[in-house]
Symmetry: D2
Subunit: 377 residues, 4 copies
């Protein structure tokens, strides 16, 4: 008989939907000891949260997150609100002995993140951060190949996260859905929103970053703010690139922007090793590109692996070879892994502590962009 | 307040899961007047169907489909069993005034199919056949472009459905999951299983087929039968290709096989028109390839359209641009369209009658392969 | 010291240039016993042929091919004129003991071709037909892989040759450059022009064709003829598709058209074998796609082999890995192989006799399209 | 009647062949006032240069370049020797009033380059540097599109040049063909060899670079030197990446390495503008990827333009649409443009002065990598 994992969800935006879908679907595809139950959804806007709860089947609603984190019938709090609210909610949740599943990035900065780590560690509660791309099967497969040593010594790592949705100067900043353009709510622009994903994956795949040299730009300097109705200075970074050295001696190159026409959400990564290289991109997320120097000399070539077989990560839970799954499944996988970790009593990465490493790189990147110096992480 | 649509599912295999997922998810993403309710699941194997019902949340189970189709609390019967059982169940379901959602192909042959059409039409019950590929957003988008006249006069249509899972001579025929290799259960091999999909889409996109010249082959002549344990003659077609002429004057070329190494489930289609061409394939199902001769002369090229924007078919119900959905979503879309048709009182294509057209082409193809003659459909 | 191979070229169109380039360049890149010398160029239009000779460095010109084939200082005749002139010229050249390099297709039909074969065989002169695609390095490499048995038993062969340059009804037929639209000069339309290439490669790669079922179409029924100035019936096939069975039991599917928008000269081929499959297309002619089932299970994928390494066919004569050569190089390779065969005293395929096999398939295809019957080759 | 342009070639390696091929072929495909004549080839190794001259049809040979630059019958000197010899030869050639076509990079550093610029400018001789990639038709086409304003304001430029041929620690440094691994002969490693190409194209396409932050690495610290036979410190950069800001406000990201498994010579570039983006890569050099935001909303996609039509740059000189040319043709184009500039009395870019701009960026990159600071160009 499965045990319940009662979820209290805070927020109802894009990520609120993605996580809810993860909770609802997991038991149809994974045979788990713990089964998530959508116990309560919370947001200040009562009408909105009631509608959201009805759509997703949450049993109840709250309009004050403080009440939610105190409810006895809640086991885990899911934090799907703008970044500037993460710390306060997490500290309160930890104080109430709730497990926490927090949206990325962990915090506004390293100082906040450190406080949050200490809180969950002190409380001894299970915690994880939704860096969901680790659990795209092709990316998880890349991790397996690297861990098996198939690449040998790593020379290069490069990643991009390119978008084009903010090019129009008419787009306002702030408010619903557009808080990502407001540094007060988001902490930073593409650095925390997009590069954080790239950094999390990189650290997971090949280890920590030693130092960085970065450059940022804000192409559109002023935009109307939806809350004040006034034209205000844009405080986020529209684009950010950085060079880095990894602890293992590999060189890294990262870039993110929301000004690259033609790229909707193109997260790409490539790793070059002594024996083999691999590549992946989010626009065709079900494929892993693989080049192996050990193949017969004149028959070497980049292989396009369609990661849909039952011996690929997570794929034995879905359909048959050749039939692709999508973006949302990465959240189902994270829920499945969280439930499994719970049963085993092990951490479910990335934990808050893991995510703090990514936060450190982000902070170093922003420092470097400001100072024009190489910064140690 | 949404109205319930009580589903009675017969079968629990690959398609049983895919349809169940469609019913369960639709209301999280589509705002519909009718909401499917998983009322009962039915199969002869009691343990298996109970486990299936528990996983998917069916309220009850049956082991005799005749009981199921008579239950008053069931609105619609979903037929997910081998092809040789379609007719009998559908006739009984229609006789009990149940709506029917039947797996493809409609029937073992045209004669059966005609009987089934008459049954549902006489009963006046809503009916549809699960030719799900129509509802992959990129394919639906192709339909819109053709209907808008963007291609002009159509010259060519070509489609392949290539797989490689039966190449090993060790693979047995018959029984659970392998009934597709047994003509007694399946009616035919790749013709009814794979080409039927290609034909359904083709007719939907550019209209009916006039005549065909076909060729079939069974590469492995004998296989062990899982039910008898004996080596028996293989009765299905392992591969089938055919030429055809469409009613609109276009030329068609179709091929299907389970002996094409490297192709897991590669359904591809291409349409060449006077002004433009389009291509699609199932291994990257979220993309539509588009070539437009009306583009500026030296800037013409095949466009790879990432069909993930909110103004692409169905996509406003899912995530944000650039984030792809998968195979299973085509079933969610078919459920959504079925519910919507119900609300409007219109048919939900492909109806049994639509699917009978595909059956006619399949029968003509098999006749042509046998006789070596061109056969009129 | 290299021996001279004195060339007498008849014609100065597209192929006249391509062959001339082959003769001029070969000695810069290949170390050969025989070196082609551009001795004479011939055409009825004196101004045109003098200009052509000046551009390419031919030592002399003729306006009557009968004179050319009788010249003592000519070793080999290159036939680059419309198909309806091939036979007469080749018979005369053979009678004068000239070697012959003849443009494809060999002849207007099998009867002509048989006569030509007998003429060169009786004369005992070296002969070859310019089915140049055999000598694209990626295609030659495919041949090596098949001959090494890496594919095992062959199940399927498919090839397309798709173009779109005759869609406009305004395009005239006949005359300079457009004789390919006139059956009196060309023999047939896409069948002899494009499918002949596909058939030659197929026979070379996997062996002969047993029987065919074909379909042709002429989409634009009438066009102005450039010579008469009148609107006349179009006598060629605009499109042709056929099914076939190979002698080795493999199934074949071929299609060619000049009505496929977006395809300039897209010759594609794919071979599916028991262990592996390969694909190639002319629009990216320096790549061979390769799938090997013997690769480690979950790491299988189509490899895109960039055929530019020194251990790829012909490539040790060119640049460094990664730097692609083009279409014209296939003619250089054929000249090199012809010279080498000459030194060794072996035939240089495809000989007239080899090319007659392709002619037989073309004739069977046209017969089948007319009769609606399967035709044995 | 064409005028002769008498070439004196110094060197006979990879570039010696590529340039010679350019000179020999240009008149077959371009109708020019000046026609190159292969007058003399020069190298210290007499046997080698005689063999080279015989292969390519040079009329004479020299073993001392000082003699060559003084010969009255030579119009232009082509410098195809290691970088450390460029300056001395160019100064002498200019002093003798010879035109100069110099291999890239221009010089060992900016100081040398400045001296060379002054020499040719003082002598008033035509001069050009073989940054050949500008004349790949797809790249030239990109230039036209940018110059027409089709991209609007430029936000991002990124380029990579990735190779993998020096990964083995067994590979020696120095000597024939391997002087590129010896800083004494090459000046630098990938920076001058590969990044210089990327920088030249970038400046040509979108203008000058303002400042840079760079990082270099030498992965294999010691290699046997072919001249001394001893294991010596490797003095070149194996890899180099840099961030930059262009004068027009765009952000740049460049990377080059010889340690990226799977990439033979993968030069890629991408430009993101307000209205459109474009991409190109050397492994499929006949294609330009184009994305235009002004296309109809839901039909936007990256177009793969097959740059082989007669209205594409240079392509009216070659074959027919769909038939690709290769790497070597870029040199033919540069010869054609040089001859045409000569006839018109205009400079043929990149001139020495143009190439000095690239040299300045290279020097700044190396300085930045050493100092860890942002460096103004």
């Amino acid at each position: 008989m499965a045990k319940s994992l009662n979820i209290g969800m805070i927020g109802y935006g894009f990520m609120g939907r993605a996580h809810s879908n993860g909770y609802r679907r997991v038991s149809n595809f994974f045979d788990l000891e713990y089964q998530p139950v959508l116990k309560a959804a919370c947001a200040r806007n009562e009408d909105a949260i009631k509608k959201f709860a009805a759509t997703w089947g949450y049993e109840s609603t709250e309009t004050d997150w403080r009440k939610l984190v105190e409810r006895k019938d809640i086991d885990a709090i899911d934090v799907c609100v703008p970044n500037n609210l993460h710390k306060e909610i997490c500290l309160a949740a930890a104080a109430n002995n709730k497990m926490i599943l927090c949206e990325k990035p962990l915090a506004m900065n390293v100082a906040e993140g450190e406080e949050m780590c200490q809180a969950v560690e002190k409380a001894g509660v299970a915690n994880t951060v939704w860096y969901n791309y680790r659990r795209i099967p092709a990316v998880t497969f890349a991790k397996q190949l690297i861990d098996q040593g198939k690449l040998g010594r790593i020379f290069h790592y490069r990643a991009n996260f390119l978008q084009d949705w903010t090019i129009s100067a008419e787009l306002p900043q702030g408010g619903n859905g557009l808080w990502r353009l407001d540094a007060a709510a988001a902490g930073s622009g593409v650095t925390g929103d997009l590069l954080a994903h790239c950094i999390d994956t990189a650290i997971w795949l090949i280890g920590g970053v030693q130092n960085v040299s970065a450059m940022t730009e804000t192409f559109i300097k002023e935009r109307t703010h939806t809350e004040t109705g006034k034209v205000q200075k844009v405080t986020i970074d529209d684009a950010c690139s950085f060079l880095c050295r990894f602890n293992n001696g590999a060189l890294g190159l990262f870039e993110s922007t929301r000004y690259a026409r033609g790229h909707k959400a193109l997260y790409t990564l490539e790793v070059n090793g002594e024996h083999a290289s691999l590549k992946w991109d989010l626009h065709d997320l079900h494929r892993l590109q693989w080049f192996d120097h050990r193949d017969e000399g004149n028959m070497r070539g980049w292989r396009s692996i369609h990661v849909t077989d039952s011996d690929h990560p997570y794929m034995n839970h879905w359909w048959v070879p050749g039939l692709q799954i999508g973006y949302e499944h990465s959240f189902v996988h994270q829920v499945a892994d969280f439930c499994e970790s719970l049963a085993k009593g092990t951490p479910c990465g990335p934990t808050f502590r893991d995510a703090l490493e990514t936060q450190k790189v982000c902070d170093a990147v922003l420092d470097s962009a400001k100072s024009g110096q190489w910064i140690n992480v």
